[in-house]
Amino acid sequence: MKVAKLARLDLDPDEIDRTTSQLAGMLEHFADMDALDLTDVVPMTQPYPLRNVFREDVVVEGLLRDEVLAEAPAAEDHRFRVPPILGLDL
């Protein structure tokens, strides 16, 4: 339930039950790595050792506003329109 809330997924009770049992099965399988000694191993977040990729600070053409907004579920005054985000008791 808590994970579904974090993931912003409105799952029904059946889906929660099924997912919980499937995840439990997977986590059981994943326990195989407990056999490894990982004490001094440096975590690897990505394969290629790139860092600080910069580009020249020049103006380039971006996406066309109207083309982007034409694909939005709701738009108004050249902006994305969403339900209220303020004044709610969340």
């Binding site: 409105d10 997977m26 399988h29 994943f30 990982l38 690897m44 290629y48 339900p83």
Partner: protein, 480 residues
């Protein structure tokens, strides 16, 4: 017209004939469209066939040829594109209801490069939703069938692209490979499939699944065609900061030297078991073939190989749970109206994502959540390092490694049921490559049970594409 159209079955031969004015691109396209009309209703390789657009592009290319202009190395070659790569103004769905009919406002870099090379986009192919799966059964728009046996899966997640090439709907296609999603369907459909080194091909415009693992690559009927496509789409792109900032040697040039004498071909002696006998039998033939061609067989160990599945199914869902947060009903795709934004996000995502995508988002969210991060995601990243280090050690003794691509031939549609782990095991032999960032390819190498195609996987170290392609070409030659 000196060349009969029907003799042109490879991208290489089509491009040559179109460039020289020997055949019209329009006729080439019509021939492939005719094949689509005959078999697509059985195979369902495509989410969208671009009949009129392809004809228009072909006419434009023919006009260029008539005007004496150079139309590029893929002149007049139809190509099928996995439907998770953005095409401006053309629906790009990821086979998900959440992006149903979304039309991107830009083209992926690979699309720009293919178009500049004279290729003709003939359709967008089916996939497991957001590339999560190994059978193309997890698509919101129906299952893709294996052209070799319609009751079998085409593999996945790029099953539509593999099936399109196998069924003769296009001579080449692009897929994306996060844990085997090019190589495994290539093996099951009996075509060539290549996942290059991470960063070899720009990911700009590829809708992200797991950003540190995803890589675009080609499907083709020949090794040479795969090299031709990679020469066009590879190379640095400023729009993708993870693309390798250097030029790659032409793989077509590499293939002009066909000799594998002295090449060190490695066998992983501690490879996890699980492959069917018909598959391992073909692998043994592959080892014998390369030895007979002059290669030297060596034994290597990759002890952490066995833990790759665990590392992958923590890292990939963790990255996916973050990447897929952008599908929230605000800027594109589906929105389920609700009183406030949080309710709108949750309702939209619940309605738009299919069961496998939800499962992986949940798994990834769990692996990243406070209290579990170190035990799961953190440890998986360390296992990933062990795997990469083990491979690096193996590649001191070997130039390439051979393994099965898939543990089995194409399995019956529906046979893995509701057991996610059984499905995940399909990628046992392909996943470690993605974790290490290395290249790998599947070469069609005869048949196994029920006469279905078997693929042999050729692996190499970082930017080891040249040796990998030469070894693959030697296997291909032995089958001719």
């Amino acid at each position: 017209m000196n060349t009969p159209l029907s003799s042109l079955t490879t991208a290489t031969s089509i491009a040559q004939a179109v460039r020289s004015g020997d055949v019209c691109a329009a006729d080439v396209v019509d021939r492939y469209l005719a094949q689509i009309v005959i078999r697509e209703s059985d195979v369902h390789a495509f989410n969208l066939v671009l009949t009129e657009e392809a004809r228009q592009t072909a006419a434009a290319i023919d006009a260029e040829v008539a005007a004496g202009r150079d139309v590029g190395p893929l002149a007049g070659v139809p190509i099928a594109l996995k439907d998770n790569m953005c095409t401006r103004g053309i629906p790009t769905t990821c086979s998900s209801k959440i992006l149903n009919n979304w039309k991107p406002p830009y083209d992926a870099t690979v699309v720009d490069r293919l178009s500049a090379a004279g290729a003709i986009l003939i359709g967008k192919t089916n996939l497991d939703e957001f590339a999560m799966g190994s059978s193309t059964e997890n698509s919101a728009f129906g299952v893709t069938h294996n052209p070799h046996a319609l009751d079998r899966v085409a593999g996945g997640s790029s099953g539509g692209s593999a099936a399109a090439v196998a069924a003769g709907f296009a001579p080449i296609a692009l897929g994306s490979d996060t844990g085997g999603s090019i190589r495994q369907p290539a093996a099951l459909c009996g075509v060539v499939g290549v996942k290059p080194t991470y960063g070899y091909v720009s990911r700009y415009g590829l809708i992200a699944f797991a950003s540190s693992l995803d890589q675009i690559g080609p499907f083709a009927t020949t090794i040479e065609d795969a090299a031709l496509v990679l020469d066009v789409i590879g190379g640095h792109d400023p729009q993708d900061s993870t693309s390798i900032p250097q030029a790659h040697p032409s793989l077509r040039q590499v293939l002009r030297t066909q000799d594998v004498t002295g090449m060190r071909v490695g066998r992983i002696t501690d490879l996890p078991e699980g492959a069917d006998p018909d598959v391992t039998e073909r692998l043994e033939v592959a080892f014998d073939t390369l030895r007979a061609a002059g290669a030297v067989l060596v034994d290597v160990q990759v002890p952490a190989f066995a833990y790759a599945l665990t590392a992958y199914y923590l890292i990939a869902p963790a990255e996916a749970s973050s990447n897929l947060a952008r599908f929230d009903g605000v800027r594109y795709g589906l929105r389920v109206p609700a009183a406030d934004t949080n309710a709108m996000y949750s309702a939209t995502r619940a309605a738009g994502f299919g069961p496998e995508v939800k499962r992986r988002i949940m798994l990834g969210t769990y692996a990243l959540s406070a209290g579990y991060y170190d035990a799961y995601y953190g440890r998986a990243l360390k296992v990933r390092r062990l795997i990469a280090d083990d491979f690096d050690r193996a590649y001191r003794d070997a130039d390439v490694l051979l393994t099965p691509t898939s543990p089995t031939v194409a399995f019956p549609i529906g046979s893995k049921g509701d057991n996610p782990l059984a499905m995940y095991l399909c990628d046992l032999y392909t996943i470690p490559t993605n974790l290490a960032g290395h290249p790998g390819m599947s070469v069609p190498f005869g048949t196994g049970a029920d006469g279905l195609p078997v693929g042999v996987q050729v692996l190499a170290g970082t930017l080891g594409e040249a040796a990998m392609f030469r070894a693959a070409a030697a296997l291909e030659r032995s089958m001719q």
